[in-house]
């Protein structure tokens, strides 16, 4: 993926596949695979926030974890800051870990309830550094200040904090080793609306100050519009569309992106009355048994014959805009223009 004017690719994901085996029968033989992430490619530029959106089960979280190699990817390549990590041996991987960190969805489950805040934030420092106890405590205090936690609470336990504060602890831990790249996996999904804004503002402020690069995974399309510079839309393990934020939200190209955006209820009663929604029929098919051809063809309001036979490739249809849809295919472009307009209506 190219984006003119943006300097350096920090993360390059190419043809990433993450298949989980399905075993059955007495001998637990592999009889199939859940293709949670199937041939996904994208880049993240230094200092940007790439939003990764999709419905549950589309593979967005698996993708985020595979990118940090919390799973062993089935195939594909992941280059972070010039180093291939998809197949790196563990000792090398461990050396690279400080550069790439993660903030998890559920701050309740991702913090050890038996460790104090200082212990949690200090753990990566102990694992990956050789700091004296005093230096480490100084660094812990510095991190607590950075995320807006009161230093006096360093010896408290996670259960003594509210959800938003717990997420701040998780962010401080992720920042401890001065990472370049952070995967934020639904960091605000478990928080109340008034607290979500606090955490998102904190993430943005830290990004400005520390030059961080984020992969921001979320199902909240409004929040992704707020925080992301570019957006990847996934459907059933595959990329449906990639584009810069404004272009994608103002003029979505893929029929799935259109439907997804039109399904988001707006906090404005007047807009609701005039809204012309595309309501998708049916459910997301199982990733263990995806439909033939385009995986969206079963729910697509404008599916054509070719869609049920041939899986569309991701192609750049406008500068910076990548779509996997036959509507924008060269050979079918004649009908594409007309059909695309009808979807947008």
């Amino acid at each position: 993926m190219r984006d003119t004017g943006t300097p350096k690719k920090l993360v390059e994901v190419k043809n990433l596949k993450m298949h989980f085996p399905i075993r059955s029968g007495l001998l637990r033989r592999v009889t199939g695979a859940v293709k949670a992430v199937d041939d996904v490619s994208f880049d993240i530029f230094e200092g940007e926030t790439l939003g990764l959106v999709g419905e549950s089960g589309c593979g967005k979280s698996t993708c985020g974890r595979a990118v940090l190699r919390l799973y062993e990817p089935t195939s594909g390549s992941i280059i972070i800051d010039g180093e291939e990590i998809a197949h790196a041996p563990f000792d090398k991987l461990r050396r690279l870990r400080p550069k790439m960190q993660m903030v998890f969805q559920d701050p309740q489950a991702s913090l050890n309830p038996r460790m104090t805040v200082a212990g949690i934030i200090g753990e990566p420092l102990m694992e990956h550094g050789k700091m004296s106890a005093k230096d480490r405590l100084d660094r812990i205090y510095e991190l607590m200040d950075a995320v807006g936690l009161n230093r006096d609470f360093a010896n408290r336990y996670p259960h003594e904090f509210s959800g938003g504060q717990r997420q701040r602890i998780g962010i401080a831990r992720a920042l401890a080793l001065n990472p370049k790249f952070i995967v934020c996996d639904e960091p605000i999904a478990a928080l109340d609306v008034s607290i979500q804004a606090q955490v998102v503002n904190l993430l943005e402020e830290l990004q400005d100050r520390l030059g961080l690069t984020y992969l921001f995974i979320s199902h909240d399309l409004s929040m992704v519009r707020h925080i992301a510079d570019r957006v990847v839309v996934m459907y059933l393990g595959k990329v449906a569309e990639i584009g810069p934020r404004d272009g994608l939200y103002d003029d979505p190209l893929h029929p799935y992106t259109k439907a997804l955006l039109s399904a988001v209820p707006e906090p404005d009663p007047v807009a609701h009355d005039s809204a012309n929604r595309t309501i998708l029929q049916g459910d997301v098919p199982s990733p263990a048994n995806p439909p033939k051809g385009c995986n969206f063809s079963t729910r697509c309001p404008v599916a054509m014959d070719i869609c049920r036979r041939l899986d569309p490739e991701v192609a750049e249809v406008k500068p910076g805009r990548f779509v996997a849809c036959h509507l924008y295919n060269e050979t079918t472009s004649q009908t594409a223009g007309n059909a695309a307009q009808t979807v947008g209506a």
Partner: protein, 335 residues
């Protein structure tokens, strides 16, 4: 409001619910009053801990008691005060005259019974139908909520349904006995947006067909904007603002509502550079509030807010807000 015969299907006055725990009391619902007209959809908005679910669970007495205790108030429904009727009467009303749909369709269906059994059960207990009649009615209900191939699916178990389909089943169960009031507690929160859109369409459609009154609890202002006739905003166990939906979104009069509307990013239109933040945390309600519960987080707060808990002032047609600050004059209220 006229006295005697009321136009309301539900009339709740000064409801107070307290949880007694080992670490002291929690005053979850504090003098909540509201009404519900027949056929109306009332949206109840608030953050977790604001008391929105506990209020609704109190009025159908679906809370474990103890530790919960309804300490005061009345809930008038069809000429009876639900806060005072016997448990048997309550059982006859719950699930029949008042239907419920809960947030999580995964946990609110029993995994070891077929879906058919779970729809037929209330029909037989509450409506006295025989097996065949109940089965037919169950098929009708599943068709009503848009489940294809309904008769065959009666024999399926909940795990054979997707999340959206399970929520449709829950709605079918709630509608089984033709309730007057439906209480829906975050019914679409666990669903994906495209599935949520389907369920919202379904509810709009069912309202037209069946004409029941609905209480819709949610934290999602977008959902409320699309579906409610009237909105009640809750904070700290009390109602802080109440208005018709368009009025509330166009002209919010409580600082909490105003800030809540600004903390949510837009999906269309202008994109704000920085999100508005409500600093601080919601209050812990260890005793009945004697001052405004929003005071600590409120940019408008002044001395009176610390000494008195505001009542709900009329601020417009069918619109009230519990705040001493008058946004129309930009000065404290004289009352």
């Amino acid at each position: 409001m006229p006295d005697g015969a009321t136009p309301f299907v539900l009339d709740v006055k000064d409801l107070k619910t307290v949880f007694r725990t080992r670490r002291g009391e929690v005053h979850a619902v504090n003098d909540v009053s509201f009404t519900l007209k027949s056929g109306e959809l009332l949206g109840v908005v608030g953050e977790s801990g604001s008391g929105k679910s506990v209020t609704m669970m109190s009025l159908i007495r679906l809370l474990p008691m103890p530790p919960a205790e309804i300490r005061g108030g009345s809930v008038m429904f069809e000429g009876q005060d639900l806060a005072r009727v016997s448990e048997d009467t309550m059982r006859a009303i719950r699930g029949a005259r008042i239907g419920m749909v809960f947030q999580d369709p995964m946990t609110s269906l029993n995994p070891v019974f077929t879906v058919g059994y779970q729809i037929i059960e209330p029909l037989r207990t509450h409506m006295g139908l025989n097996k065949a009649q109940a089965a037919n009615r169950a098929v009708e209900l599943l068709e009503l909520v848009g489940i294809p191939d309904a008769r065959r699916r009666l024999d399926d178990y909940p795990h054979q349904f997707s999340g959206g389909m399970r929520q449709r089943v829950m709605i079918a169960i709630a509608l089984a006995c033709d309730p007057k009031v439906l209480i829906a507690d975050e019914p679409t929160t666990a669903l994906d947006v495209t599935i949520q859109a389907q369920i919202l369409e379904l509810i709009k459609d069912l309202r037209q067909k069946l004409g029941m009154a609905i209480v819709w609890i949610t934290h999602d202002l977008g959902v409320i904007a699309g579906i409610a006739d009237r909105v009640m905003v809750m904070y700290g166990g009390q109602v802080v603002e109440q208005a018709p939906v368009r009025e509330l979104f166009a002209n919010p009069q409580h600082p909490y509502t105003r800030m809540l509307l600004e903390t949510v990013p837009n999906i269309r239109g202008d994109r704000q550079e920085k999100l508005r933040v409500i600093q601080g945390q919601p209050p812990i309600l260890s005793k009945a509030p004697e001052s405004c519960p929003f005071r600590d987080r409120c940019p408008q707060a002044f001395d009176r807010c610390a000494s008195e808990n505001p009542v709900r002032f009329d601020v417009g047609p069918a619109h009230d807000a519990a705040c001493f600050w008058d946004f129309k004059t930009g000065a404290p209220r004289h009352a």
